[in-house]
Symmetry: C2
Subunit: 512 residues, 2 copies
């Protein structure tokens, strides 16, 4: 009895080890296909010119004194009373020219360093969701435990290049110390590259200090970074500017991302939204270079349309696909890496709509050579909810893209003309040596899609995709093991977090 | 009370008339983007050469005497005893050169004629499913009523260019008269272009006779057609050859489609599967031209992989996406129109997997310039089941592609630089004249995706995509009205069907 139980356990361990999901290695991904380009070069030039016109004649609000100083020193026209800046095209183009076209983003484990630029594609996890959802508990406010579970899953799923990025808001932790607890979890639960909030100077300084504890030295390739959102239209607020200036000064990564819903934060036409997006992104990129010439920076796009019936944002739309792919063309024009998004959807549950809207985002993101695809997993409900099941569904699709982009081989072995002759008309290839030698490695090995006959599927419970995904993430968490971390580093991180928690007690860093 | 009921009815009629789905006009669709090309030109040439090698050295079984006569007469090397043919590259390339690069497929309503070729994309319905499924009744053998309902839906959904194509097998009708009843329904319930079974000479002759009753004259542009499947590897069977020869002789459309599951009907490597597909398709294309030089013919691809765990076909895979897009490149190489597929999936229900596998098929199909996308709607379970809800989900995605391909406009009105200046930093564009003038027409108007806030969605029943799709097709069928048809034509069709039903009683055309 005991032996048989042990046998079953051993068999189960072997089965786990053979899970196709866990066999996927961590690696860089390149897109060997020419990029999808929506715009002809004359159209691209028109958008470019329109953006320069906006920069010069309409200008921006920069709600931060240091940012205004930097613009003034650089020679831009600044209205200090109204915190407004007009940027001449010569100044703009000259300033952004110092931004690196590519760079390496270092991870705690050097084998997990990430290359950003050229035709490289990297996937980052979901970020900023206020609710967590799974099939057991439904949808409820996110907790620190949810956050840690998402970091663990991000660590284990090798299709993702980053271990953490505010995957869900830990609402059971006081607001002003969340960044400390999140980043502590990120550095200890994963050895992949990390991202953490660049919300104002004080929080961002904490983030940089913790990175310094782990890496010892922040010179050289960057280690930490975050999105810098534009408060569209045409305004950079104090919180984002504090983050941008602090990150750029430390040589860390800003991904400058206007968040534009066409028809609300810009004119309704996508051409106009993109002219505005381009002006906004370039202004932010330029500011990083005024802070520190050569600072790593990524041009970001997050433009989609409003649903005109409900006034709600719409994701995974044809307009969103245009904006995403054209954003990549614009970034290439300025020789800047490009940040897009992946798993966008407005569906409330991981159903057909959630899947098709996500694929309406992923296909153009990948084909257009987006270098950093954030929110690549886990989105539901327009980004309000992080779903554990959706996370797994999205990982399956990312894994499929790895296989798709791996390149198509035409050579004597893959053409196998001898086998075609040998089997001949009306025969079958299932048992040939050529098939048998390749049957377990030739095709993408799905861990989620069900291809069984109807009867077998029904006998197995007739589970839908979300139910199968539920079993996958639970099994992953059951198998999670933390990556090694030097004890002294861990203790130093702990000490830093504890000290800062005491210092920040009762403070609200978000109202300052 | 009565008045208020009438008011409500009138309001309901207005609302129906405003349904975005019914407002979509029937129109030709073009893909203005350059085609997605997976292969470099040297790789394409290698596949081409490999195919010629197969045609010349391995050859094909053609299980039909007339086909063998045609090959012999053309100068191919023919082994009559083994019904085998080897085709020289010179003969092959010279013969396929007479196939038209494009043509118009006529519909009963000339406004619904369809252009096949160049960068035109057309969508055909599902075909050949043995089960029908919807959320009310589950999955059960297809009936004539299911068939008629699918024709009605195909007629009403203007994103589809064809009204009928064996959408589901009417299992309550005797096998040998199904084609008569199906095509009668197709001609009377829809005025779009039709497809019907080319299964052997007798059935195909019925189909052509019925088309002649409706159109009077079959000379000129074609009006009927069907898939001709290759019995891969390397065999054309008697049924398919009877259909091919009968259709081509009448100047009607064959879409020659090898059905290859790599690892079963071809070697496991996709390069080999495609070399074989190309040889098989070109042999069939050539045969249509030997029957009648200039006969309209479409190069088809239906190559995907086997799931090596279950031995079942796998659809919506990275390998399937490769095959589909490379098939288009091959067809273009020979200046032939290309047939692909759309809604492929192995999922048993219209869930997330069904949606993502479909989008893994549709994106490459559309970007690669597939001219005829069959099975564009309704697939479940590897093509065994036609689902009413999946049909609607797929129609939503096709409609999104119409919008996506409509082209991106950059001009003074769409750039709207004056509005960006007028609203300025921190303002909003919801109420501007520019937005208000365009709010109901600028964006793709979804009829299925839910973008409401979570609470509103939950109050409305918390329906998933399939449940909402269920309401959509039921509402469509309730509103269906048959297109006008000349009474004499209808009666002549009826008389033909009745006569042939008597003649075919007790016969089995499928065993002959």
């Amino acid at each position: 009895m005991e032996t048989s139980r042990q046998d079953r356990r051993a068999a189960r361990r072997r089965e786990r080890a053979e899970s196709p999901l866990l066999k996927i290695p961590f690696r860089q991904l390149r897109n060997p296909l020419p990029p999808l380009e929506i715009l002809a070069s004359e159209q691209l030039e028109e958008l470019h010119q329109a953006s320069l016109h906006i920069l010069e004649t309409v200008g921006f609000d920069f709600l931060d004194d240091e940012a205004l100083d930097l613009w003034q020193k650089a020679g831009a026209k600044v209205d200090r009373a109204n915190q407004h800046v007009w940027i001449d095209r010569g100044l703009l183009l000259e300033t952004i020219a110092s931004a690196p076209p590519s760079f390496t983003w270092r991870a705690r484990n050097p084998e997990r360093d990430v290359f950003i630029g050229e035709n490289s594609i990297t996937f980052g996890p979901n970020g900023g969701m206020v609710y967590a959802a799974n099939l057991d508990i439904g949808r409820r406010p996110g907790t620190m435990q949810d956050y840690e579970n998402f970091v663990k899953l991000s660590h284990m799923c090798n299709v993702l290049h980053f271990g953490c990025w505010e995957q869900v808001t830990p609402q059971d932790v006081p607001v002003s110390i969340r960044h400390l607890q999140r980043l502590y979890a990120g550095f200890t639960l994963s050895d992949k590259a990390v991202m953490e909030a660049a919300h104002g100077r004080e929080i961002t300084t904490d983030v940089i200090n913790m990175a310094e504890i782990v890496f010892g030295d922040l010179s050289g390739d960057p280690i930490i970074g975050d999105v810098i959102n534009v408060n569209s239209p045409l305004r950079y607020d104090a919180r984002m500017l504090g983050g941008l200036i602090t990150l750029a000064r430390a040589g860390q990564v800003c991904f400058i991302t206007p968040f534009i819903l066409a028809g609300a934060m810009s004119p309704i036409t996508i051409a106009s939204a993109l002219a505005q997006q381009n002006a906004e992104a370039l202004a932010g990129v330029a500011l990083t270079q005024l802070v520190r010439s050569g600072a790593p920076v990524i041009y970001g796009g997050f433009t989609t349309n409003v649903d005109m019936k409900s006034g709600s944002p719409a994701f995974g739309t044809p307009e969103g696909a245009w904006a995403l792919a054209i954003g990549a063309q614009l970034a290439r024009r300025y020789n800047l890496p490009y940040r897009a998004s992946g798993s966008l959807t407005t569906s409330k549950i991981p159903d057909a709509q959630a899947a098709y809207e996500t694929l309406w985002t992923l296909w153009p993101a990948i084909l257009s050579h987006s270098n950093l695809i954030m929110h690549a997993v886990g989105w539901l409900e327009g980004g309000l909810t992080a779903s554990f099941e959706k996370f797994i569904i999205d990982v399956e699709n990312l894994a499929m893209f790895y296989h798709f982009l791996d390149g198509f081989q035409v050579n004597e072995a893959t053409l196998a003309l001898d086998m075609i002759a040998e089997v001949g008309p009306g025969g079958h290839h299932f048992g040939t040596s050529h098939t048998q030698a390749r049957y377990s490695t030739e095709f993408y090995a799905s861990f989620l899609s069900d291809r069984q006959p109807y009867g077998t599927w029904l006998e197995g419970g007739g589970l839908d995709t979300a139910q199968r995904a539920h079993a996958v993430w639970q099994e992953l968490l059951a198998q999670y093991e933390p990556p090694p971390l030097d004890l002294a580093v861990k203790e130093a991180l702990q000490a830093y977090v504890e000290r800062r928690e005491r210092e920040l007690e009762g403070k609200n860093l978000y109202d300052s």
